[in-house]
């Protein structure tokens, strides 16, 4: 008798083992075969033991089936965090989803998450397989849901990162933190690095921990562009938003640069990261990563990238998310303070 427990199973799972790394299904067969091996001493009991072994295999296989099906999904449901203009955004992502469906052989479906902070909830509620996440939500999802960062898009300016800008109107008489007292601050969303964590961490570094007391009022705009427009229009005195949106608005309307003064900038962080559930078959995840990282090498891929408004995708750096977590911890003291 071969020392391998599978030798008693007439090669049922042998070929499977030879072709692919073991799946959960195969691990179950190993276990059943091992159980069988313990009871193989008396020859008259062999048939009986084999039958029990087969029954166990069947039982374990049936219970393992749903798990196996999740590893090889028929479709991937990917979430997207809403931007200022969700119609434009859906248009951009739609072509990418079609390309990925075609290349992966698995249908990629998109869903807009109603707001930034819902990533964790939506993942659980909607059974999302992955999501294109901004830096802070990606950090939260990696830490709390153990998602795997797969790829970062590089924007048309050649950058895969973004940073937070804190800005005021040039004619505002606000030049430093002490001038901000009693004014109106517009954040983007509590789940954004550029539009919330960064300004809180910055204010904390300057001795401001209770924004309730320090500001006359603070609000959340819901989008980076809205925060910028609110300050431009005079609906808020100070705002914070991501530089990529700021630069896009300035490119469209150069008068914005003449009107706003940037008081502080955060360090750079990955702007968007495609994160995928850890439970997804690693081969599928790997394939997805390969397609994205090499799509700029084919004309079909480049065409989709153009519509997606990106140059290419690059591999994420996990250290970036550690830096965001550090910033979150710094800001958390201020959050706890004003959240009382």
């Amino acid at each position: 008798m071969s020392s391998h427990p599978l030798s008693n199973l007439d090669g049922f799972a042998k070929s499977s083992q030879a072709d692919h790394p073991p799946t959960q299904y195969q691990q179950v067969t190993y276990l059943s075969a091992a159980v069988e091996g313990v009871f193989t001493k008396p020859s008259n009991l062999n048939l009986c033991k084999k039958l029990i072994g087969c029954l166990l295999i069947c039982l374990f296989s049936v219970t393992a089936l749903p798990v196996s099906a999740m590893d090889q999904p028929e479709e991937l449901l990917i979430g997207i965090e809403p931007e200022h203009n969700i119609f434009d955004q859906m248009e951009r992502y739609r072509s990418l989803a079609a390309y990925l469906s075609d290349q992966l052989g698995v249908k990629v479906k998109l869903t807009i998450m109603s707001r930034y902070g819902e990533v964790i909830k939506r993942f659980k509620f909607l059974n999302l397989d992955g999501a294109f996440l901004t830096s802070y939500t990606a950090t939260m999802a990696i830490n709390e849901l153990h998602l795997q960062p797969v790829a970062n898009p590089v924007n048309l300016n050649g950058e895969s990162t973004s940073q937070g800008y804190m800005f005021v109107r040039k004619d505002s008489d606000i030049h430093e933190v002490k001038d901000m007292q009693g004014k109106r601050f517009i954040f983007v969303d509590p789940a954004t690095m550029e539009g919330y964590l960064f300004p809180l961490a910055y204010l904390k570094q300057h001795g401001i921990t209770d924004i309730n007391k320090f500001f006359y009022r603070f609000d959340f705009s819901g989008s980076h562009a809205s925060a910028i427009f609110a300050v431009l229009d005079g609906r808020a005195d100070i705002g914070s938003a991501k530089n990529t949106v700021y630069n896009r608005l300035v490119n469209n309307d150069p008068s914005i640069r003449q009107e706003l003064n940037i008081l502080a900038k955060s360090s750079k962080a990955p702007e968007i990261t495609l994160c995928i559930r850890n439970e997804i078959d690693p081969r599928l995840r790997e394939k997805l990563s390969d397609i994205l990282l090499h799509m700029d090498e084919t004309s079909a891929g480049r065409k989709v990238l153009k519509l997606f408004k990106a140059l290419r995708f690059v591999k994420p750096n996990r250290a970036d998310f550690v830096r965001i977590e550090e910033m979150a911890q710094e800001a958390r003291a201020a959050i706890a303070e004003h959240g009382k």
Binding site: F229, G234, R235
Partner: protein, 313 residues
Amino acid sequence: MNSLLHPLLRLVLTVFFVMAAAPVLHAEKRIGVIMTGNIPYYGAMHETFVTELNERLHGAEKTEIILQRPFPNPISWSNAARKLIAFDVDLIVTYGSPATQAVLHEKSNIPLIYAGVYESGGHADVDSKNATGCGFKVPLSSIIRYFKSLKTLSSIGIVYSGVEEDSVSQYQYMKRLAEQQKIKVEKIDIRSQADISKIRPANPDAVFITGSSIAHLYLDEILSDLKKKHIPAADIFPDDSESGLLMTLFQPAQPQGQMAAEMASQILLGKKAANIVPHTFRDTELVFNLVEARHLDIAFPIHLLIEATRVIK
């Protein structure tokens, strides 16, 4: 002699005391107010001013308000200012830049509080030790930006009045912004009712109405002409009738009325105007009128609507 002098002395002393006490008996303070025309924006400011002032003084000072509503032209503003100076009021309150400038021109020693003055360079052009007050600033570039988000903007008409300093400065600023963005400017200078006919030949893609008093006096006629030609209009004064303007970006009147009342109460209680720091309001409200948009066949994108403080449906 002594018996004759005694009643005489008593009479002189009585007259002296009555005369000395006369100002106390007439302790009522008189406030002269100049509010140009019948402009709802200034009306709302004045209403808040009166309510707030009564609350602040709590009857400690009796006040009489002499309200002047001059027609928007330099002679009427000047006459209104001179009348109040002749009345020897204790305080003059003005709404809007032309009325303020008219009082300053008279170089009176009567303290002046202004409100509703548009500040082009960040500070109101009010240079007098007897004057203080509050002004406002509205970022005019936002109006161009929102117009551009709604339709192709290759030309913009600017309705202003060449006899109103703040209106002229708004025209100049808007013109500069438009030209930087290669937008052609059509200037529409309204100095009298007859000038409204200037709008008829104009055919810009959109019209911006400056904070001109005379333009607002004839606003309905101006908007009626624009409506016939399907030209959208924006204003930096609120649209109380909620009819005719596609968008308004304005500083609400009430905070300015409140602050003017606060400053007035301090002056009436003895504080010098020079010791009260002027204030510039920079908070704005953005209102989009979807009813007008429908008339003009303009579709507001959702991402733009969410910017509004209020949407008229």
